[in-house]
Assembly symmetry: C2
Homo-oligomer: 238 residues x 2
């Protein structure tokens, strides 16, 4: 993927199937891999356990889990318990931004990953951003990610000195959910360890936007989702 | 300063004399003012009380104080208790970056301020960055701040939609410390409420880099520093 080998990787790892696939891709690229899990009061705190399990599975050199108390200052359906989570829609009109948008979320995440990367002498930041199909977030677009790379070179000591050329890798950027499933299978992602549901219950709700996109991905890839194996609660509908 | 009136302001307020002067400038500009204090384990936690006092003094609409647990992942003399704080030097060679540099600090701060601004419908972010005299940080340079503005327009819902044009204001960017003292005096900054020392003791140490720059500023502006009024501990040297 890269013209020259990376000095080392920081992977933004939420615990979902996308970031798990990104982690597997970074591991495959070679070099030291660090994982960074940033938690900001979003409802699916259940993902944290998934992130820890994935970091162990892929034997990352270091896994940092930080709780950012930014929920109260950022308004979003994902962080505000009084706002309902989106349900029952799977495709929105072209160009519209979903209600789960969190203001400046990826900029905050990438900034912290940048500081972490520079502190550890790493040069490549990996993020599960996706511009196709189910995203629609402004901070998941290629032009945004390139702008962040340019900023990173101006923002840092080693960037300004020229000793590090920070790069942002978003290997899922142009993949559909089904293609992500196929890529993850190829790389040996343990889907059973991942967690995608916006709700924090024992089992995925199957109804939230994230569950629906996940189900669509596995269905279109013609694969069963191991996270859904075993008996389901009777009250649950698909 | 601005060609059209701002919709509202977010001021990054540390509690030091610089951010206090920036807050006074934002208040003078007109429109709602919010203050955001981000604390990341740096040694001068004493600044938090100063930030709260300044926010009250200037009657901001909202003051958010967030503790970011990023100290362990960012290496710097300011966040690592095992590294000595710089002392006894007041001017470094041109272009060199001081040991108090915190990787990606301003990018992390501006990103959170951006999310806060968008969440509250505000468009102007104020920061006490300074490119003259006592700074030398890569993320205090004009080209960095302009790059962040460009990123902000790509990163956000309202930026992409064109309803908000986010701006970063750094009114101290080209001022010497003495000029900051004079500007602050003109705007009625209550210096006695501010805190600049890197140490968290009851009184400023007078020896750290921040104390020395502050003293130099007041001296060259021909003003007394009200924070130094009253009897001094005998052991203290200037």
């Amino acid at each position: 993927m890269a013209a020259r080998p990376a000095r080392g990787h920081v992977v933004l790892l939420s615990g979902g199937m996308d970031s798990a696939t990104v982690l597997a891709t970074a591991v495959r690229a070679g070099g030291p891999v660090h994982a960074l899990t940033l938690h900001y009061g979003q409802r699916h705190a259940r993902e944290l356990a998934a992130a820890r399990a994935l970091a162990r599975h892929f034997r990352v050199r270091e896994h940092q889990v930080l709780r950012l108390p930014i929920g109260p200052i950022l308004r979003s359906a994902l962080t505000d318990p009084s706002r309902p989570l989106p349900r029952g829609w799977t495709r929105r009109s072209k160009g519209s931004i979903p209600p789960t948008y969190v203001p400046a979320r990826n900029t905050i995440f990438l900034s912290i990953a940048l500081g972490y990367a520079e502190s550890r002498g790493l040069d490549t930041i990996w993020i599960g951003a996706n511009a196709i199909d189910y995203s629609g977030y402004p901070d998941c677009r290629p032009e945004y990610l390139r702008a962040f790379e340019r900023l990173a070179r101006l923002a840092t000591k080693t960037g300004v000195e020229g000793s590090t050329r920070f790069r942002v890798r978003a290997p899922l950027l142009r993949l559909t959910k089904a293609e992500i499933v196929r890529l993850g299978e190829k790389l040996g992602v343990p889907w059973g360890l991942t967690w995608s549901c916006y709700e924090g219950a024992d089992r995925p709700c199957g109804r939230c936007d994230s569950c629906r996109w996940r189900a669509k991905g596995f269905r279109e890839a013609g694969r069963p989702d191991p996270a859904l194996a075993g008996p389901r609660p009777r009250s649950r509908r698909r």
